[in-house]
Symmetry: none
């Protein structure tokens, strides 16, 4: 049995957050002390962990409410329903990744086209590209690395910083 502060620190959230969850029907303490303190059971702890896990995996509180309603009455739902929800989320995430990769690519092109020197940016090719929205040419050799890799990213940045004169705006 836990008081609100105990449960909160146990799960690394704030008491206010638990009251918020209660107000929104996600998690109510299974009892109250004589003096009115919220008292959470281990089942409540499990439920909170469920909520936090789902949240960590990117579900909104509304979606989690939906998941919890399945949890409460599993027998009335099919695997298809549950899987459908996850697959929807998966599709959203994949779409977002695809968009990010496009954006990463255009930022890379912008970066590569700029000399990065101390000169006035008046003729900076990045700014020119932003103003005119002219696409900066993709570098034939650079290709497009689809996976985030900070080591490679830093290396490539270091390299492009090193050949200032080569691919520059100024």
């Amino acid at each position: 049995m836990y008081r609100i502060g105990e449960l909160a620190s146990l799960c690394e959230v704030k008491p206010d957050t638990l009251r918020f969850y209660e107000k929104h029907g996600l998690l109510a303490p299974s009892s109250r002390s004589e003096s009115g303190y919220r008292v959470y059971s281990d089942a409540d702890l499990s439920r909170l962990k469920f909520i936090l896990r789902a949240k960590a995996v990117g579900f909104s509180l509304n979606e989690i409410t939906e998941l919890l309603s399945i949890e409460l009455n599993k027998a009335e739902w099919a695997c298809a329903d549950v899987k459908g929800m996850v697959d929807d989320k998966l599709e959203q995430v994949s779409a977002k990744i695809a968009e990010l990769l496009v954006f990463q690519d255009s930022l890379k092109r912008l970066s590569d086209a700029c000399c990065g020197g101390p000169e006035s940016a008046e003729h900076c090719s990045i700014l020119e590209a932003l103003e005119t929205n002219r696409q900066v040419q993709a570098e034939h050799h650079a290709g497009f690395t689809p996976v985030a890799d900070n080591k490679n990213l830093k290396a490539s940045l270091a390299i492009s910083a090193a050949n200032k004169g080569k691919s520059s705006c100024c």
Copy 2:
């Protein structure tokens, strides 16, 4: 040249959104008609597209403002500044991609572990994974083994009889 509604429907946003962007310094129409209507140019359209693309991949409007603000006072910036900003964004994008890939992976594992059939979700491995702390195994084809539950052996057998050979929860 576009009026606000034209530009809005062209980019699938609402006129209100464009007024909001204007109020917050992201996109001002390059002129006004005699009667005071906002008139957007193709450059404005391009700028809007940039904004929307950046937004679509998770940049806040503040970040987008920062990125676009370089353009306004070019002379006060050096190429190094501009490029540094772009490179910062690039790093952020890469970090976001990495995060999303992890998320995508865990969703995939959840999805793969579920049969997705019309059976009761009582033993759905997605729900089990959310209920427990156990990670769904990566990659190993039949890796996910549901917790032994002899109580529901009968149901379990019935369901697996209905299953078409997929590695699944049921």
